[in-house]
């Protein structure tokens, strides 16, 4: 039975208080009908006796306290899901906006999802080749991982994300069951259009589900958008056995929308005014990525966020980093040097890399060379810094080789552009070529037998 009330007592956008209600439950979906017949939606945030506090998903403009009719629908916000969603474009509330027909749902799903039982998870360990050396070689991505891109305003994170979406593949696997779910959260039309045209150019558009909440759409709608996307992804991955890559941009806009609602609710703010439950809220989204035992599909999640003032300790990147399995950090300094993609290798990290590399997955020498490259680049950068203070003469010949290594590493390994697609063998061989700048005795992190096997041949002639 649908109950309708005309007892709206107070509206402080985006919150609305309805009196004298009966049988209303927490988290229920609410429809508000305006006097012109248009419908706004919201959900119940709190019920206290006969009073319900409703959070609107859309703007409250035009709602009249006396005329508005409020209906409580008896179920939480749901998304009708179907395999036909592939190739379609939806708004942030899950309604088609591409002019096509409505989706005939195979089932309705609560967009909040349910926590995944850790005992039912399958550990992600299948190597995904992105064709980008800094990711494949040093911060390996695996299926079912959540790996965010920490970027800054004006940095080319969109190009990097598009490159990953275009080139990502699992070795020896057919790509027919691959899908992309893209959630645009409060980004500009131009940014969104970049992705759409990119997907169209590569033909990926037919395998893509787009959820689009642009910068001029209501901010509160942004809270639902990523959940819509993840609900669709869960359906495709765990019902339709697809390998889904979810790209969400920009999480900073999402967190700000959450702060807006929290402030309207007059909650005690945490750091920088963000609500204390930001961690839990983000975790409930990010943790929906992964693999399940006995299921073929997987959800790999790449959230993109712009760090305010490039500050990694800002609550949004900070809490994200605590939840996700690593992070790819873009560096403004490298970008200014014209290095593309400007991945800052040292603070970037993939926590799941160790399970996805090695003999049978990539190559036996991968782990050792990876650690050696990191260590050598880090030493090289330190030496370069020292060199700029004290001059070249202050460094030992070995220190100078390290400095040279750091330069070459940035120029050749990091700087590959957005079009080059390197196989993992090419990436590893390039790593060896760079390491051969250093004396063999410095390679303490690589097993001696691998040094024998993979040390570039040209050096032996010399």
């Amino acid at each position: 039975m649908i109950r309708e009330y005309r007892t709206v007592e107070e509206i402080v956008s985006p919150l609305m208080m309805v009196r004298q209600v009966e049988g209303v439950t927490y988290d229920e979906l609410v429809e508000v009908q305006l006097h012109d017949g248009s419908i706004r939606r919201g959900k119940v945030l709190e019920v206290n006796g006969d009073t319900a506090v409703v959070q609107l998903f859309e703007s409250a403009a035009g709602i009249n306290l006396a005329d508005a009719k409020v209906r409580f629908l008896g179920h939480p916000l749901q998304l009708g899901v179907s395999a036909d969603m592939l190739g379609r474009v939806f708004n942030g509330m899950g309604e088609p906006i591409d002019g096509g027909p409505d989706i005939i749902p195979e089932e309705y799903r609560d967009i909040n999802g349910l926590p995944m039982n850790p005992a039912a998870r399958d550990y992600p360990n299948e190597f995904i080749q992105t064709g980008i050396s800094t990711i494949d070689g040093l911060n390996t991505l695996v299926r079912g991982q959540k790996l965010p891109i920490f970027s800054g305003s004006g940095l080319p994170h969109a190009n990097l994300a598009a490159q990953i979406a275009r080139q990502a593949k699992v070795l020896g696997d057919d790509s027919s069951n691959f899908a992309v779910v893209f959630a645009a959260i409060g980004i500009t039309f131009e940014e969104s259009e970049f992705f759409v045209s990119e997907f169209r150019r590569t033909g990926a558009i037919d395998r893509t589900v787009l959820f689009s909440n642009l910068a001029n759409d209501p901010a509160v709608e942004r809270i639902s958008t990523p959940r819509m996307a993840l609900t669709a992804a869960e359906y495709l991955a765990f019902e339709k056995d697809m390998h889904v890559l979810v790209i969400m941009t920009d999480i900073t806009n999402y967190a700000e929308a959450l702060r807006e609602v929290s402030a309207a609710k007059k909650e005690v703010p945490g750091r920088r005014g963000f609500p204390g439950y930001l961690y839990t809220d983000l975790a409930q989204m990010y943790e929906r990525a992964g693999r399940q035992l006995g299921k073929k599909g997987s959800i790999t999640l790449i959230p993109i966020l712009t760090m305010p003032e490039d500050d990694k300790t800002h609550p949004i990147p900070d809490l994200t980093g605590y939840i996700t399995e690593g992070q790819i950090i873009l560096s403004r300094a490298l970008y200014r040097q014209g290095i593309h993609p400007p991945v800052d290798v040292l603070p970037s990290l993939s926590r799941l890399k160790d399970k996805g590399i090695g003999a049978g997955k990539t190559r036996e020498d991968h782990a050792g060379t990876m650690n050696q490259l990191f260590a050598a680049y880090s030493t090289g950068k330190d030496n370069k810094e020292l060199m700029s203070i004290l001059g070249e003469a202050a460094l030992t010949p070995t220190d100078l080789l390290y400095a040279k290594f750091a330069d070459e590493f940035e120029k050749r390994y990091v700087n590959q552009g957005y079009e080059e697609n390197r196989s993992i063998e090419e990436t590893l061989d390039l790593g060896w070529e760079l390491l051969s700048i250093l004396p063999k005795s410095e390679l303490k992190r690589i097993k001696p037998e691998y040094i024998e096997k993979y040390w570039p041949k040209k050096d032996q002639q010399a």
Binding site: G23, V24, T25, Y26, E28, L45, E46, V47, N48, G49, H75, N112, G113, P115, M116, N117, P118, A119, R121, D122, Y123, G144, F238, E267, V268, G270, R271, G276, Y277, Y279, T280, A283, Q284, E287, G290, Q292, L293, K295, T313, L319, G321, Y322, I323, E325, Q327, L346, P347, L349, R351, D354, A367, N371, A375, S378, L386, A394, L395, T396, K444, K447
Partner: protein, 622 residues
């Protein structure tokens, strides 16, 4: 009062309030119910509960969601619900169970994975599939499984709380001792013969002093927020060997001690915690994944059964209990998870075992506390955390210790607590880090700049500390020789000198240093790279025994001594640094565990010869 040993007054008082364990066979008395009036996320207010007790567990709504009473005001109670409250509204029924939040203790917990309120996650998968739905009811330990029980006590024995009635071989490595529940005492009038029993079948009958007959099953219940009693606490004196060189040698923790691992994300907190859970030389490990990643728990769940305990040769899972309340699971249950974990740990400690509780991460627990506090509209303290944050943290860590257990056989057990702290932005001035630092005795400060250099474990040797060094010294002197502590001090001072020398190098360059200082820098680098760095993902290097740690550090310091002597005689510094034995020292940590004593001896010999050769040559040139 037949409670052996002196019992502090305050504890005698409290004993009245703690349950005896006898009520569990008569459970299910449900006589009080109320109605929901308000729902706000996990906080529910209900009226009509005037007769309920504070902290009672209640069942809410038609789905029988589990909750706990937080505050009482007249007949209305604020309830923290441990499950998602979507779909709950005013008018729903609330039923109190009349008992506080408790765990079931008995055979069947080892190798298990539980959520924050001790629901078995693997059973839940079987019952409802890969996602956790609401209101699932599964007993914490299997009530139907039969365990082979061997009696130890005899009819006519006078027993008291903690006395062992019999044993059950729970896994190959854990002998589960069935104990008399803590507050009971009397005479055994009946004891079951050896045979297979479920945890609920009575295995003994006790006649108490006032003539009541009590049947005791193997299972006990205990409220999680109350520490289990013990006879005495002792200052911890034995080190916990974790096989991690930077921990065992540099900043050791004692069995029964407390430690915190703070660090920003990406600095390797979880790897350190996993290494401790894997290699600590304790009998039982309780690993609490509190508000952390689901995949990390899955990793433990899939990896531990494959790993062999270096001491018993059995799988590590056979001594491990997992509590997993991941970040996407309800926040209220996260708050309970650390208590659930430590109560299970105390139960095993009472059997006389060495137990380690590893909690990852206490910051998430504190955030759960903050969230509930906010919903209760309490006055916030620092950064929105409730004012009682520090005292709650202290209560948790204080449940650790090296104790003489209750029972008349004077057995000793220990409970070591290690908590990760995840300070926002890596800033240790925030309330959770500060409150933790005031309590714990060992502090392993993780450093992101070390992590960027791939120096793992990224424990900063200048900021970390251990307050157990003095109390552990007698043990080290006796078991590893007095050299061990001397070498440790020498290595620490080398690292200290390195830090100050590096400042000079920044200004004037390495060449300007005297040969002796250059040697200091070089040896400090060896201590860092060849000793402190340890690869958790390499089979050989993942675990290093105390003997091996001692030998490796002694070898590096011996190299220093020989070089210092040679430099004094005028040997060229660079030649000393480039002797072939140097590279061998660098690879010494990856030598197979069986071969290291011989290999290390050989390296020492080569090293001495080569340095001898260099100084002879150097002398000629000069």
């Amino acid at each position: 009062m037949v409670f052996p040993g002196p019992v502090p007054h305050w504890r005698r008082e409290r004993r009245q309030a703690i349950p005896s364990g006898e009520s569990i066979l008569k459970e299910g008395r449900i006589n009080l119910s109320g109605k929901v009036v308000k729902v706000s996320g996990p906080l529910v207010v209900a009226t009509g509960l005037a007769d309920a007790n504070m902290s009672d567990v209640v069942r809410v709504g038609p789905q029988r969601l589990i909750g706990e009473i937080l505050t009482m005001k007249g007949d209305s109670a604020s309830i923290q619900v441990y499950e998602e409250t979507s779909g709950l509204g005013p008018g729903a029924e609330v039923v109190t169970t009349g008992a506080p939040m408790s765990v079931e203790l008995g055979p069947g917990m080892i190798e298990g994975i539980y959520d924050g309120i001790q629901r078995p996650l693997e059973k839940i998968v079987e019952k409802v599939g890969p996602n956790i739905t609401r209101g699932v009811e599964v007993p914490a330990i299997d009530h139907d499984k039969k365990w082979p029980f061997t009696p130890v006590a005899k009819v006519g024995d006078q027993v008291t709380g903690g006395d062992v009635l019999g044993t059950v071989p729970e896994t190959e490595v854990v002998l589960h001792k069935i104990m008399v529940p803590p507050t009971m005492h009397g005479t055994i009038t009946k004891i079951a013969p050896a045979g297979d029993y479920t945890v609920l079948e009575p295995i003994a009958t006790l006649t108490t002093d006032d003539g009541r007959e009590v049947e005791l099953p193997m299972m006990q219940k205990w409220p999680v927020r109350v520490g289990r009693p013990y006879q005495h606490k002792y200052p911890p004196k034995r080190p916990l060997c974790s096989g991690q060189r930077v921990i065992d040698t540099m900043f050791p923790i004692a069995k029964g001690g407390t430690a915190a691992v703070p660090g920003p994300f990406g600095s390797g907190k979880t790897v350190v915690q996993h290494q401790l859970a894997k290699w600590s030389d304790v009998d039982i490990v309780v690993y609490i994944g509190c508000g952390e990643r689901g995949n990390e728990m899955t990793d433990v769940l899939r990896e531990f059964p494959e790993l062999k305990d270096p001491r018993t040769g059995e799988s590590l899972m056979k001594r491990t209990v997992l509590i997993a309340n991941t970040s996407d699971m309800p926040v209220a249950a996260r708050e309970a998870s650390v208590y659930t974990g430590i109560t299970i740990a105390e139960y095993f400690r009472d059997m006389g075992y060495d137990v380690a509780v590893i909690a990852d991460s206490t910051s998430r627990w504190a955030e759960a506390l903050r969230e509930m506090s906010g919903r209760l509209e309490e006055m916030p303290g620092e950064e929105g955390y409730p004012a009682y944050l520090a005292s709650r943290l202290a209560q948790f860590y204080e449940r650790a210790g090296s104790v003489e257990c209750i029972g008349s056989d004077e057995r000793r057990g220990s409970l070591t607590a290690v908590g990760a702290v995840s300070p926002p932005g890596g800033d240790l001035s925030e309330p959770v880090s500060q409150a933790t630092m005031r309590i714990v005795k060992v502090f392993w400060a993780l450093d992101s700049s070390l992590a960027y250099k791939r120096h793992f474990p990224a424990i900063n040797w200048l900021n970390s500390y251990s307050l157990y060094l003095d109390s552990l010294k007698p043990w080290f002197d006796e078991n590893l020789g007095p050299e061990f502590m001397r070498n440790r001090t020498a290595a620490m001072s080398l690292l200290q000198s390195e830090a100050s020398l590096n400042e000079i190098v920044q200004l004037v360059g390495k060449d300007a240093l005297s040969p002796a200082d250059q040697l200091t820098l070089e040896v400090a680098r060896m201590v860092r790279e060849d000793f402190l760095q340890q690869n958790a993902f390499m089979d050989v290097d993942g675990y290093s025994s105390y003997d091996r740690q001692e030998k490796l550090l002694a070898m590096i310091l011996h190299y220093e001594k020989l070089c210092r002597d040679a430099i004094a005689k005028g040997a060229p510094v660079m030649a000393l640094f480039q002797i072939p034995a140097r590279e061998k020292i660098g690879r010494a940590k990856s030598v197979e565990a069986e071969e290291y004593p011989q290999v290390y001896q050989q390296i020492e010999q080569e090293m001495a010869q080569e340095i001898e050769a260099v100084s002879a040559q150097g002398g000629e040139e000069a």
